[in-house]
Symmetry: C2
Amino acid sequence: MTANPADSLPESPEADFPDAEQSPQVDVAALGEMLLGRWADARRKAREVAAMPALHKVEGLTHTEHRERVFGQLKVLVDEGAVHRAFPQEFGGQDDHGANIAGFEELVTADPSLQIKAGVQWGLFGAAVLHLGTEEHHRAWLPAIMSLEVPGAFAMTEIGHGSDVASIATTAAYDPEAQEFVINTPFRAAWKDYLGNAAKDGLAAVVFAQLIVKGVNHGVHAFYVPIRDPQTKECLPGIRSEDDGIKGGLNGIDNGRLAFEDVRVPRTNLLDRYGHVSEDGTYTSPIASPGRRFFTMLGTLVQGRVSLDGAAVAASKLALTAAVRYAAERRQFNASSPTEEEVLLDYQRHQRRLLPLIAATYAMGFAHEELLAKFDGVFSGAQDTDEDRQDLETFAAALKPLSTWHALETLQECREACGGSGFMIENRFASLRADLDIYVTFEGDNNVLLQLVAKRLLNDYAKEFRTMSVGALAKFALGQARGMAYKTGLGAVGQFIADSGRAQRSALALRHPDTQRLLLAERVQTMVAQAAQALQGAHRLPQAEAAARFNAHQDELIEAARAHAELLQWEAFTEALEEVRDPGTRQVLTWLRDLFGLTLIEKHLAWHLMNGRLSMQRGRTIGEYINRLLAKLRPHAIDLVDAFGYRDEHLRATIATGIEGRRQAEAAEYYRELRASGRAPVSEKALSKK
Amino acid sequence: MTANPADSLPESPEADFPDAEQSPQVDVAALGEMLLGRWADARRKAREVAAMPALHKVEGLTHTEHRERVFGQLKVLVDEGAVHRAFPQEFGGQDDHGANIAGFEELVTADPSLQIKAGVQWGLFGAAVLHLGTEEHHRAWLPAIMSLEVPGAFAMTEIGHGSDVASIATTAAYDPEAQEFVINTPFRAAWKDYLGNAAKDGLAAVVFAQLIVKGVNHGVHAFYVPIRDPQTKECLPGIRSEDDGIKGGLNGIDNGRLAFEDVRVPRTNLLDRYGHVSEDGTYTSPIASPGRRFFTMLGTLVQGRVSLDGAAVAASKLALTAAVRYAAERRQFNASSPTEEEVLLDYQRHQRRLLPLIAATYAMGFAHEELLAKFDGVFSGAQDTDEDRQDLETFAAALKPLSTWHALETLQECREACGGSGFMIENRFASLRADLDIYVTFEGDNNVLLQLVAKRLLNDYAKEFRTMSVGALAKFALGQARGMAYKTGLGAVGQFIADSGRAQRSALALRHPDTQRLLLAERVQTMVAQAAQALQGAHRLPQAEAAARFNAHQDELIEAARAHAELLQWEAFTEALEEVRDPGTRQVLTWLRDLFGLTLIEKHLAWHLMNGRLSMQRGRTIGEYINRLLAKLRPHAIDLVDAFGYRDEHLRATIATGIEGRRQAEAAEYYRELRASGRAPVSEKALSKK
C-alpha cells in the first residue's frame, strides 16, 4: 500500500467546520412539513386517528384482554376510513398505494399490535385477494374483508419453513371429478404457524400450498379457504387451529397455527391471476417460468417490507423525541459547578449516544420516502416494468433490515439513556421495543433479505463488469454521476467512482459530500468485486462445492449488502438536503448528514484504511470531527426531534412532558428558601476544610 | 507511521491453525465441573432449587398475580435454606460470602424477578443492616429479615438522583430532646423511587438520608425505618407510598416510591457502624474523611454488582444452550443438495452470530469467577486492605457493564437466530431479555461505572507514569509479567508491554497469546496515556473549565475503561486455560480463547492500525483467521454449551428439546413413503427442463 496523497495535505477539523458567526436556526415547521413527505395528508390524517385514546395500547392487560381490545380497534379503523386506501375505487377504496402505506405506518404510534393486526387483515389477507385474485374474486370477497365482516389469516409460513416459502409442504391437489381442490397438511412441520387471526378471530384464510394437478406440482399457489363458522366461530370440518399463546410482544394479535385435513374448496377459490386450473384440470399461467411465476406472486407482498421500514422509522422518532426532551432537562452530577448539576445532553457521551441515532433516523426517513415513491410507481402502474419491480424488491430488502434493527437499537439506547425511568412502561420504550422485536425477522428475516440484496449485487456485477479486473474498475466511466443510488444497481456506483479520481479525493475534506460518497460507494463496489472474484466459476462446480464456496463468503456478502443499504440512506439524505431552502435549516441538516456519513465511515474505518481509501493521518481525525459535529448539533437537538411532529398524544411518555424540569424548579426553590432562612445546614466537608 | 516489521514476515492463517490430524474431543463432564468453579457445591444446590417448578416464572400473569407468586416463592427460598449463606452463623447463616453470591446468581434461571426480589430482601435490605449496622442492630433485626417476617425496601435511589447517591435530598435531622431522628422528603424529586418491596410488601426500609446534627450535614447515612403496620399493611403515619406499576420486565417485584413527612425513629435506628450520634448529639466516625466514609459505606454494597455480573453470565448460557441446540437441528434452504436442506449452524453467518458469543460468555464466566474470589477475600476478611477494597470496586465496575450488555446482546441474537420461534415466550429469550434489561442501568448505570473505572486508570497512570512521556512508557519494566490483569491497576500492564519488544511481536502469530495480550494491553495503556496527556493540568483549572476539558474526552475515557475490562476477561480466560488438563478440551478451549481475542482485535482493528500496533498486511488476515476458527469450533458447539450444565428444567425452552429434529424425521419419513408409493408428483420445473 503506497502512502495516500492525502497525507501531504493535513487538514484540521477546525478548517472543515468553522464556527459560524451566528448559530443557525432550524425552521421547525418547514422541516416538519418536509419530513411528512409526498403523502403528508395521509400521514396527518393517520396521526389524528392514532391520537384517539380508544386506539392506544393499554399496558398490563392479559393477552386475551389485549386481543379483544385490538379487535375492537380494527372496527374503529374501518369506521374512520383509515385502512381502505389501497383497494379499488369500486369497492370504496382509493387505488392509492403510497398513501395507504404512509397512513398505515403511523398506526404504530397508537399500538404496534393494532398496526400489525390491521396489516394482517388488509395488507396481507386482503392484499393477497386483491393482487393474486381476479375481479371475480374481488367482487366475491373484498367487501367483507374491507368491512371486517370476514377477518382472515395469511397462511403462508410453516413451522418447518420460515423464510423459505418455496419449500412449504402443504398440498392442494385438484380433484377434477368434484372440481375442487383438496388441501392437506401432510405432517407436523407443515402446519401453518405464527399467523395473525388464526388462533381466534379468522373466519377465512388465504392458504399457500403446492398446487398439484394431474400428478404435476406447479409450485406454490394461494387459495381462499373458509376456516371457521361465522356463527359459532368453531373451526370448520378438517381445520385444526392452535394458539401460539404469549409472545415477546404484539400480544394484541391472536397468532396461531392451522392444519388442514382433506379440506375441500371450489376450483374457483384458487387465486388464479398468475396460475389457472380449468375445469378439466389444465394448468395455464401468463408466466411460463415456474421460478419467475413464484417470485412474481411473492413480489405482490413487498408492501409488508415497505411498511415495516416506515413503521420502524416512526417508532425511532417517538423514542428519540422522548429521550432527547428528557436529556435536555435532566441534570446529574455537578461536574462544572458546585451548585448546579450538568444537563445530561451536555455530556459528550450522551451526545454520542443519541445524536448519531437522530442522524440515522433522518437518513432512514428520507430513504423510506424514496422507497415509498418507488413502491407507489410500481403499484399504481405508472412505472411498472420488470426492472422496476426488481429494483423495488431489492430496495425494500436493503432498507427494511437496517431500519428495523435501527429501531431496536434506538429504543434500547433511549431506554438506557433515561435510566430507571426508561424502564417504566409508562415511558413506552420497553413496550415499543418488545413489540417491534419481531419486525427484524418477519416479512423476511433481515439476514435472509440482505443475502437477497447481495445476490442482486453479484448479478449486476457479473453483467456490467464481467470483463474487467478489480483494479481496472475505477477507470471506467459509464454515465451520470449523482442520484445513482436510487437505481439500486451497481452500474452507477462504478461510474461515480470512475469520475472521482484519486487526485480529487485527496483535495477534498471529509465533510465534503463527494468524499463521503466516494468512501461509501467504493466500499460497496470493492466488496462486491472481491466476493465476485472469489466466487468466479462457482456456478460451474457441483452443487455441494458451489454452496461451500458461497458459504465461505456469506458473511462478507451480507456486509456488502449492508454497505449498499447505507449508501442508499446516505444518498437519500443528501438528495433531500437539496430541497431545503431555509439556510439555517440547511446548515444544521448538513451537519446532521455529515454526522451520519462520518459515523458510517468511522464504523468501517479499518476497511477504509486497509483498502487504502483513507490515510492513517486522515483516519485519525474522524473521531475529532465527529465530536465537533456533536457540539455543533447539541443546541439543535430539540428542534430536530420536534420536527418529527409527534404530539403528546403520540408520545404518551411521562418523561417527555416537562415533569423533570418542574421537579427541579421545585427543588431549586426549596433550597433557595432554605438558604434565605439561614437554617441551611453546613456540610461537614466544608467545616473540615476550614 | 513507519512500516511495521511484521510486514516482512507474511503469515498465513493456515500456518497458524493447522488442521489437526484428528479432531479433538471435549471432555464435557470435566469442563462442566471446571465451569462450576470454586463454589461448585453452592451452585449445584442452587440449581436444584431453581429446578423446582414452584419457583418457575409463569408467563402471562398480570403484574399483581406475578408479584403474589414471587412473594410466595421467597418463602420457599427461606425453607430451602437458599438465601442465608452470607449471614452470621449465630443467626443461622454461614458467613460464606462467595457461596452466597454463587448460589444467588443461579436463581436467575428460575425467574429473574425472584432473583432480584431475593436480592432486595437479603442482598440489599438485609445486607445494609449487616454491613452498616452493629451487633445490636443484627440481633434486633436480622432474624426477622432472614425469615421474611419483615420484608423490607432499600430506600437509596431518589427520582432526582439516580446514580449520584451523594446528592440525595432526603434529610434525617437529630432531635436531642426526643433522642430521635426526624426524616423528611423535602420535595417531589427527593421521593425514593424504583424500590423493590416499597409498593406493597415492605414493612420496613433502610432509608438513606443526609444526616443533620446540630446544623451540620454529615452526609449520607442509613436508617432503619418501619414503614407499614405488620397487621393492617397500611402505611405508618408520615409515610407515603406509590406504586411504580408495570415495568419493562421484572414485574414480579412491587417496585414503588416512598416519601417521609416528619417520620421519627429512635436514635438507635441509625445504622452507625461508620457514623455514630450520641445521646447529646455528638457525631463521631471511625473514618475522618467524609468522602472516604461515603465510599466505604457504599462499598459494602458492591455485592449487587458482583452478583449481577454472574447472573448475566448465567442468562447468556441459558440462551446460547437453547439457540445452539436449535441451530444444530434446524434446516433451511437446500443450498448444497437438491434433497436435503442445510443445518443452520453450518452457515458461516450463523456461526459468526453465535460462536463469538459463546467465546465471550466463557471469558466472562472465568472473569466472574476471579471477581467472586476477590469479593470473597474482602468480605471474609482474608484479604481486606483498603487497596483490596478499591481493587474489588474497580473490578466489579469494569466487569458488570460488559457482562450485562453482553447478556442483552446474546439474548437478542439468540432470539433472532431462532426466527419466529425465538419470539414465542415459551422459548424464553424475549422473557429473559425483558427482565434483564434493567441490569444494565441498576446497581450502577453501566456508563457511570465505566467512568469510575476510567478515573481509577487515570489515577494509577498519574501515580506510576507521571514523569514519563507517552513514547517512553514502553521502555520501562516494573515487575512480573503474567496475571497482571487481576491487579486492576495499570502498572502490570505497562510492565508486560515493556517486556514484549517490537522484535518479539513481529515474530509472533496472531494466534499466539502473547500477541493477543500485547495488542489488548497496549491499547488500554495508550488510551489512558493519551487521555492523561490531554487532561494534564486540568485539575488546576477553574471547575467549569476542568469539567469541560474532561467532558471533551469522556467518550475516549469510557472506551479506555471498556478496553481494560476486555483485557481482564481475556486474561481470565487465558489463566483458566492453564488449569485444563485434558488435551482435547484444552485444544478446543484454546481455539475459543483465540476466537475471543481475535474478535476483540477485529472490533478495534482501526485503532490497532492507526496506532501502528498491527500492520495492514496482518490486519487483513484477521477476518480469515476468524472464519477458520469458526469452522474448527463448529463441531464442538454442542459440547461447549452442554458444559454449561443447565438441564431441561432450567432451559424450559421448547425448541431445545429436540422437537425440531423429530418434526424433520416425520417429514422425511413422509417423503420416503411417498416416493416409494410412486404417487409423488413431478415438479413442473423438472418437466419443463426435459
